[in-house]
Symmetry: C2
Subunit: 357 residues, 2 copies
Amino acid sequence: MSADEFEIIRSLFAPLATSAGARGLTDDAAILDGAGATVVTTDALVEGVHFLADDPLDTVAMKALRVNVSDLIGKGARPESALLTLVWPQSRPASEIALFADGLKRDLQLFGMTLLGGDTTSTPGPLTVSITAFGTPLGPRTPSRADAQIGDDVWLVGGEIGSAWMGLQLRTGRMALSELRRERDEEAALRDSRAMRDAMPDYLTLKGEDFDAEAAWLMTTYLAPFVRTEAAAIVSRYANASMDVSDGLVGDAAKLAAASGVAIKIEANAIPFSIPAERWAFSGGDFRKLITGGDDYVVLFTAPDAKREALLGMDLDHSLRLTRIGRVETGEGVAVLDRSGKPLPIEAESYCHKLGR
Amino acid sequence: MSADEFEIIRSLFAPLATSAGARGLTDDAAILDGAGATVVTTDALVEGVHFLADDPLDTVAMKALRVNVSDLIGKGARPESALLTLVWPQSRPASEIALFADGLKRDLQLFGMTLLGGDTTSTPGPLTVSITAFGTPLGPRTPSRADAQIGDDVWLVGGEIGSAWMGLQLRTGRMALSELRRERDEEAALRDSRAMRDAMPDYLTLKGEDFDAEAAWLMTTYLAPFVRTEAAAIVSRYANASMDVSDGLVGDAAKLAAASGVAIKIEANAIPFSIPAERWAFSGGDFRKLITGGDDYVVLFTAPDAKREALLGMDLDHSLRLTRIGRVETGEGVAVLDRSGKPLPIEAESYCHKLGR
C-alpha cells in the first residue's frame, strides 16, 4: 500500500479511537486506560514483506519482539510482557516452531520480559507474526511524536543508521561484497573475516562469495536489530518528542515534524553511520539510501538545548550511540544539510512494502 | 495443524510465560501484571481458515472483534478497548477497508469499546485480522478454566449451540436448503421468508435457491456471532470455572474438564439448540455435528448447585439463553448422556482448520 492509502486507512479508523490513551492513532504506542501506567504497542511482521522466507526463524522471532521493544523504548518505557499471535503456514513443518520459540525465549530473557498469552492459527499464506508488547513508563510522561518544541536539539540514540538497509541489500544480492570492500585493506578484511567465519551461522555467509565479517555484522543488524533498552531512561528523562526510527530516518523525522507542527534540520555529517556504511558511502555508495532505507530501530527524539550537557553525560562511553544530529525550527518538513548548511536533495520516503525498496 | 501439534506449540511457549497473569498459557485470557484489573485476550482470523474469501468485510470485522469480546465475557469482564492488526492482501483494493472499518465502528459502539491502536501492513497472502481486546473484571475473581469443583452444575449462557455450524454449511453449499425445510410447513416457511427477503443483504441469500429466513438467520450467526456482554455479570458473580465455546461444545468442555481435573457430564436433551437446528436434528440430521462444530461463541461455566435458583433468577425471560446442561463429577473427560443417562458415542473434537470441518 502507498503512503496515501495508509493515510486513508488512518482517517477511517481514527474516529474509532475515542479514548485519550489512543492518541488519535497518530503515535507509536497507546496508553492503556484504567490500567495504571501501561504503554502498549503492536507490530506485525509478514514473510515476504518484512522478512525473507529463508530468514532463520529464531531471528524472525527476535525481530518480531524487538520492533515492538523499540516502540516501547521510543516512549521511554521498560518492556514487561508480550502477547504473541503466530499465523503459521500450512506448508511449513510445525517442527520449525521450536527454532522460533528458541529465539523468542532468548530475547524475552534478554529484555526481562514474560510471554503473557497469544493465539496460534494456520494460514494458506505466508508466516505472519503479530506481537503486542506492554511496558512501564520510566517517568511521569510518555513522550509522543507531537511534543517537539522550537529550539529543541534533535537526537538519535540506540544505534547507527543504514546498517540494516545494507544488510538487507547484501542478503538479497542487490549489493555485492565487492562494493563493501572498495577502499578497504583487502588483506586485513580477509584476516578479520577468517577469524570470525567459523563462529558464524551459515545464513550469514554470502552465496558464492567468501565470508566477510563486516557483511555478517550488517546482515545480523537486518535480521534482528540491536535495540537498547537502556535508551528508554534517556528518552523518559529528557525527550520532548520521541519515536523509534523504523521506516527510514528522513521519513520518520518527517512524521515527527508533521505531528509537532515544526521543521527538522538534520546535519548530514552528524548522522551516526557504522564504519562499513561510512566507507561504502565515501567510496561511491549513495548515502541517501542509508537515511531513507529503514529497519534501523533506533530512537529519534528532541530535547531542550539546555539539557545538551546533561544528555551527553548519559552516554560517556558512547555505547548507546547517543548523537545530536540537528535541531527543531519553525516551519515544516525535514531538511538534511551538508557541511555548508545547504539542504541536500532528498525525498522524504517511507515505505510499507519494506522488502520492495 | 492438529490438536497434537498445538499441544507441542503450547509446550514450547509455556515456559516463557513466567508471570502469574499468563496462567501458563492454558487459559483464554491473561491478567495484565501491574496494570490494575485488566483482562487481555488476543485472537486472529485468517481468510480461508476462519472466514470465507467472499464473506462481507463488515461482518469479518465484527467477527474479529466478537471472538475476542466472547473471551472477555467468558472471564466475567466488561470489554473496554481493542488493538487492531490488519494484514491486508496486496490483491484487495484498499477501498474495501472502508466497509471493514464500518463494521468495526458499529460493533465498537455496540459494545461501548474504543480502538486503542494497531498496525496495518500488506501481505501477499490472505486477509488476516488480529485483535487484542482489553476488559475490566466485573468482580474480584477472573475465573479460569481450571476452577471447576466436583458437584458443580454446568451451564451455558449467551446463545444456542450449532447454529453457526449450520450457517457455515448452508453458506458453503454443504447443506442444502431442502435439508433445513424437512418436516417443516412449506407454506409457512415461504410466507415467513418472503416477508423478510427484501430486508436482507444479498450475501445472505442462497445461491440458486429461494431466500429462506431461517437459513439467513443461521448464516448471520456464522458471519458475526451474537455475543451477549450481559452474560459477563453472571459469569463474574457465579462461575467457578468458565470459558467461551468457540471450537465446539464437546471439545471445549473437554478442555475445561482437563484443566480442572474433573469429568463433565452433559445431558443431550438439555443443550440449547435453535428451532431450525432442533428440527434439522429430529428430521435426520446428525446432532453430534451441532455439538462438535464450533463457532458458537457462547459461555460454558460451572457453578455450585447451591446457586442454581439464584442463577435462574438472572435470566427470567431467557433472553440470555442461560441453561443448565450438566454437572461436574470426579473422573475425567466429557460424556454426553441420552434421556436414560447412557453416554452417547461422541468423539470430543476440536478443529483448528475451522473451515475444513
